[in-house]
Amino acid sequence: MDELTAQLKEKLIKILNLSDVSPEDIDENAQLVGGELGIDSIDVLEMVVMVEKDYGIVINNKEIGERVFSTLSALSTYIRDNSSTFSS
């Protein structure tokens, strides 16, 4: 697992208050929204804020949002492809 994905797992646990979840519990290829973690549309907005604040990427389009937040690895790829601040 790359550094960015590991970082995102930690951030998700913190901002979504997934107190009983550890980074190892999150499968980066599993469905993120509506999946086992109980993440829904408001959580997505919280993640949108985090992605803009920490990586400078604005996601304000529903179609892009659905694609980006489909899995954690999709999110990680999107950030890597679009962020000027993150390089790995």
């Binding site: 549309s41 408001i42 907005l45 919280e46 804020v49 604040k53």
Partner: protein, 700 residues
């Protein structure tokens, strides 16, 4: 037998469409739009479209208060007698003023004296001379409609002859950035039901209706019926099939004994958000085989939040009086998925009945039916005696612990003041339900959870009445703090959703799938009593069981600033009490009955029996010590001086919902009366200070 009719005898309105009935009617006729880039307060980014009220006179009070007072003045200008009650729906209260003061770093509590929602209703009551109930309903964007629904019940039951009711909300950083953080603001301006709609335009306004049981010479219209429901689905998103919205419409039609085809026009909630408009369209199509003409006026007036339901009720009265239907301003291309044909232009035609929808966060739905005067028969009387409620289960949270630990101490006159660690509260709740909740909502949820458990009932209550003086302080604080810290860029959408006063009641509804009436009251130190009175007014003889909860969180920064009874030097106290209740009488169970609630205390008119009580539990908030002590002395002249008095705040500590804990204590004392030391089997709970209210607990 039929219920007395409810006449709309006075109207007052102010919004982005204008100040007053005439200006509003003209703007609607001409299909004008009040939405433009926000200029009301400075912003760091280019302003989004919003709907600021126009022609509002300067006032020393916060803007929500000024909007409510302006509407109240117009609604009562022909009034010769003061209304017997005032009910205001509001979500923001004095928050715009609070935001300015917080930014300026003001630390003097005096500067925040109008923060509380209840101060809006108090200001209106003061202006129009109402000495009775001045109640506040805070159910997010359905507040105005729910306030009118409660007023209707109070009039139909004969409890009062006149009520001034409606809603008011001012624009604020909280709502402007809150809806923006949820990506629910359309940068092009609100386009309800449009194929390309992408959100609302946040607005502000005030609208009040003087409702009377006595027919004035020329009533504007009649308030025929109301239907309330809760989605019990999600904190912010509507039920995707519009299930709760449908239930509210069906209940309203049924209460008025009207068929869907008898409705001339539907005033949609129609906020312009993709989800709301779709869910509402589905609900409308399920209720109406062939929907009548319909439109949303939010493309013209913006979404005025707690005022919306009242603004649209006033609009309905205007349409019936002036015989026209307003256009769905902002709509360019109708969304085919909705399968509705909103009015594209103002239409001149006779209007006799209007159905008006209002929905809010927490899945809180309110539907009102407004009809031409003398055109519809009075509906059949629903059996309702207002003779109290039977308590099936209780719960409380204090600094000493949950119910058992708290009662162990309280029944021995020991202090329970303090704050219970959040972990101990959370431990009794399902983890997946509380992940996103902070202190206020977790406490509210825990109280309902424990009260239901204590009732040993298989059936969960379907109606929820929650009282809170200050609501979700943690979420409100955290949202505003992040907003300031990140230069208005990154406040938390989760905090905004959780910041509404009805967040806890919405969570209780989800946990218990409670789809009935769901009302959050906010009356400062009398919030629990307001919730109890509201339950007494709303529940019919055959209503399913209900929760009544009183809860407040102590917040290290906000509580000492907002609550005048809390000093910065004191350690914080919080908690509350919860009840599961039913209308049915059950032998051996404690019954609770609100006796009176007055803003302006008149000992002569207080109906308490002499020597009828074993104990008086008196609540005197520290800020009103002298006033409260004087009132207590006057009341003791009537109850008999030998009746012992317990000043319960000495045990619970100072916080708005302390009376809910005292109420649980009263129930436990009566239930545990094994040695028959309580001969009268009656306890009186008194709230004193700014208001005087009495609640009787008895066991037979």
């Amino acid at each position: 037998m039929s219920v007395p009719k409810t006449y709309i005898s006075g109207l007052g309105i102010i919004s982005s469409l204008g100040n007053g009935l005439t200006a509003t009617a003209r703007a609607l006729q001409e299909n004008r739009c009040g939405i433009s880039p926000l200029q009301l307060f400075p912003l760091q980014q280019p302003p989004l479209p919003a709907a600021a009220a126009i022609d509002l006179a300067e006032s020393s009070l916060p803007r929500t208060h000024a909007l409510a007072l302006t509407a109240a003045k117009e609604a009562t200008h022909e009034c010769t007698e003061a209304p017997q009650a005032v009910i205001i729906g509001t979500t923001t209260g004095g928050v715009l003023t609070t935001e300015h003061h917080l930014t300026a770093g003001l630390t003097d509590p005096q500067a925040y004296q109008y923060h509380g929602l209840t101060t809006v209703a108090e200001a209106v009551a003061e202006q129009c001379g109402c000495t009775g109930k001045a109640f506040t309903v805070s159910t997010a964007c359905s507040s105005g409609a729910v306030a009118l629904a409660l007023a209707l019940q109070m009039l139909q039951s004969g409890e009062v002859r006149s009520v001034l009711a409606g809603g008011a909300d001012s624009l604020s950083y909280l709502t402007y950035f809150g809806f923006h953080s949820l990506q629910l603001v359309d940068p092009e301006g609100c386009r309800p039901l449009d194929r390309h709609r992408c959100g609302m335009s946040v607005g502000e306004g005030g609208a009040l209706l003087l409702l009377t049981a006595d027919r004035p010479e020329n009533p504007f219209a009649e308030l025929l019926a109301a239907g309330l429901s809760c989605d019990a689905h999600h904190a912010a998103a509507p039920h995707p099939e519009g299930k709760g919205a449908q239930q509210a419409m069906v209940t309203a039609l049924h209460s008025a004994s009207l068929q869907p085809e008898e409705i001339d026009y539907i005033n949609l909630h129609g906020t312009g958000t993709p989800d709301n408009d779709l869910a509402e369209a589905k609900a409308v199509r399920n209720v109406f085989q062939n929907p009548p003409p319909l439109s949303s006026i939010k493309g013209a007036a913006g979404h005025t939040l707690a005022a919306a339901g009242a603004i649209e009720a006033v609009t309905a009265a205007i349409l019936i009086k002036d015989n026209f239907l307003p256009a769905n301003r902002g709509l360019q291309e109708t969304d085919p998925e909705l399968q509705l044909q909103p009015l594209l232009k103002t239409q001149q035609q006779k209007v006799s009945s209007v159905l008006s929808n209002s929905f809010g966060f927490g899945g809180n739905n309110g539907c009102l039916l407004i009809g031409r005067t003398d055109h519809y028969p009075a509906p059949e009387l629903t059996q309702k005696k207002n003779d109290g409620l039977t308590i099936l289960g209780t719960s409380c949270i204090t600094g000493a612990g949950l119910t058992e630990a708290s009662m162990d101490r309280l029944l021995h006159n020991s202090k329970v003041a303090g704050q219970l660690p959040l972990d101990e509260i959370s431990a009794i709740l399902p983890a997946k339900n509380i992940r996103r909740l902070k202190r206020f909502s977790r406490m509210g949820l825990a109280l309902a959870h424990e009260a239901h458990r204590d009732s040993n009932s298989n059936e969960a209550p379907d109606n929820i009445f929650l009282g809170t003086g200050w609501g979700a302080l943690s979420e409100t604080h955290d949202f505003l703090q992040k907003l300031r810290e990140t230069d208005e860029q990154f406040p938390s959408p989760l905090d905004f959703v959780g910041s509404v006063h009805n967040s806890a009641a919405g969570q209780i509804a989800i946990l218990f799938a409670a789809t009935g009436c769901n009302i959050t009251s906010s009356g400062g130190d009398y919030s629990f009593e307001q919730a109890l009175c509201t339950a007494e007014s709303m529940l019919t003889d055959d209503s399913p069981a209900a929760f009544v909860v009183g809860v407040d969180e102590g917040h290290p920064h906000f509580s000492p600033l907002f609550d005048p009874s809390i000093n910065t030097t004191d350690s914080l106290c919080d908690g509350g009490g919860g009840f599961s209740l039913t209308r049915k009488k059950i032998a051996g169970k404690v019954r609770v009955r609100p006796l009176f609630f007055q803003r302006s205390f008149a000992a002569d008119s207080c109906t308490v029996k002499a020597d009828a009580y074993d104990l008086i539990l008196a609540g005197i908030p520290a800020a009103d010590k002298k006033k409260g002590e004087k009132q207590l002395a006057q009341l003791r002249q009537k109850t008999g001086k030998s009746t012992p008095v317990l000043l319960y705040r000495e045990l619970t500590g100072e916080f708005a919902s302390a009376s809910a804990i005292a109420a649980v204590m009263a129930v436990h004392l009566l239930e545990n009366n094994v040695h028959h030391s309580l001969q009268q089997k009656r306890i009186l709970l008194l709230g004193l200070g700014r208001c005087v209210c009495a609640t009787e607990f008895s066991i037979q």
